[in-house]
Symmetry: C2
Subunit: 217 residues, 2 copies
Amino acid sequence: METTVGGPTLTKRPRGRPRKTVLERDDGNRRQELLRSAARLFRRKGFHAASTRDIAAAVGMQSGSPFYHFKSKGALLYAVMEEGMRSAIERQQRALARAAAAAPDPCAQLRILVRNHFDVLLGPGSDFIPVMLYEARSITSRQRALLAELQSQYEAPWSPVLEALRTAGQLRAEVKLARLLIFGSLNWSAQWYDRRKGASLDNLADAAIALFIGDAA
Amino acid sequence: METTVGGPTLTKRPRGRPRKTVLERDDGNRRQELLRSAARLFRRKGFHAASTRDIAAAVGMQSGSPFYHFKSKGALLYAVMEEGMRSAIERQQRALARAAAAAPDPCAQLRILVRNHFDVLLGPGSDFIPVMLYEARSITSRQRALLAELQSQYEAPWSPVLEALRTAGQLRAEVKLARLLIFGSLNWSAQWYDRRKGASLDNLADAAIALFIGDAA
DNA sequence: CCTACCGATCGGTAGG
DNA sequence: CCTACCGATCGGTAGG
């Protein structure tokens, strides 16, 4: 019964609720909830059509409260995109590391990259990258430049794989254009893929590899 | 000097300016100018970020005047999309008819379709189709259904060509998925292609065909 | 097609 | 993080 006696010595939360200073404004999961809510609504309705009120309401906040966590709507959009890219890079690196022991040939490596890309793009909770892909117009050019840095980190592992396939005669287009065309093919799937019906992500990856990669000459 | 004498008998415009009734509200080129202006701004800034005031100002109109030609901003957006699809279908049919005499094989037919698609997507005055592709969220589901009708008209000539290539062993993925992946590849070019530098549309079409189509098995 | 205008919504802020 | 609020912008309309 110690929770009902001795006012100042409650044991439920040893020192009251955790203190939040201005400096730790960024941690905690309310911010993460806002990010997820924003990603969802930015994706479904677009940046301008999704109001900060919508986003706040979706996590049970009042209309002014998102601005306690983000200094503007644009900063919230950028945070969604950056979070999406960081997570995508991390997942890609894990996928590559997981397969490294098997010493996969270039074709198998491409399959790993493509499969992971579909996962990042279409898997559960995959609103962040589509927002980045389809709302780029709504960020500043400085933000775009920062994102381009992360994007080139993401694309880095693709180039040597495509070069190897090109050399082996299994890729019939010039590497730079091939990369753009392949990414387009994959990225566009965010427009039509429906998780609840049709092909699995494995089927998709198989079809894409079959389409792009030929037998060695 | 007959233009300065005889008030009621001017010869400049025989019967005064052409009468406009409510019924012919849709003809004339002011409406076309609005459509082009809207396509340009919807593409550059997105549907919600481009105001009807911007669109009107770009053709020298006042803020309320677009609503004389279109009953709402949404109707203007849909008109841009519909005009884009009708024009694309027409151009595709002309391109196919022009080549029909040469009795092209399936691979050459695909090359014609792809080349024309890049033209529609990236050529001069090509804002209409990108708007249709990237602002689909902003129209009603009824409008989307109407557009889907036109889109399937546009896609119709692609299927037999892809089927033939598949049968000939030159297309390694199932036709339905291949079509989606190929369109994605092409459509995404609207995001990165810069008319002023890099590859020509012919180069692009060559690279795409090379990437997708293999030698007969 | 212009003038003059309205109602609604929205991003953002002050102060607690 | 909430309450209460503001200024700006925007789509749209009446009336000519």
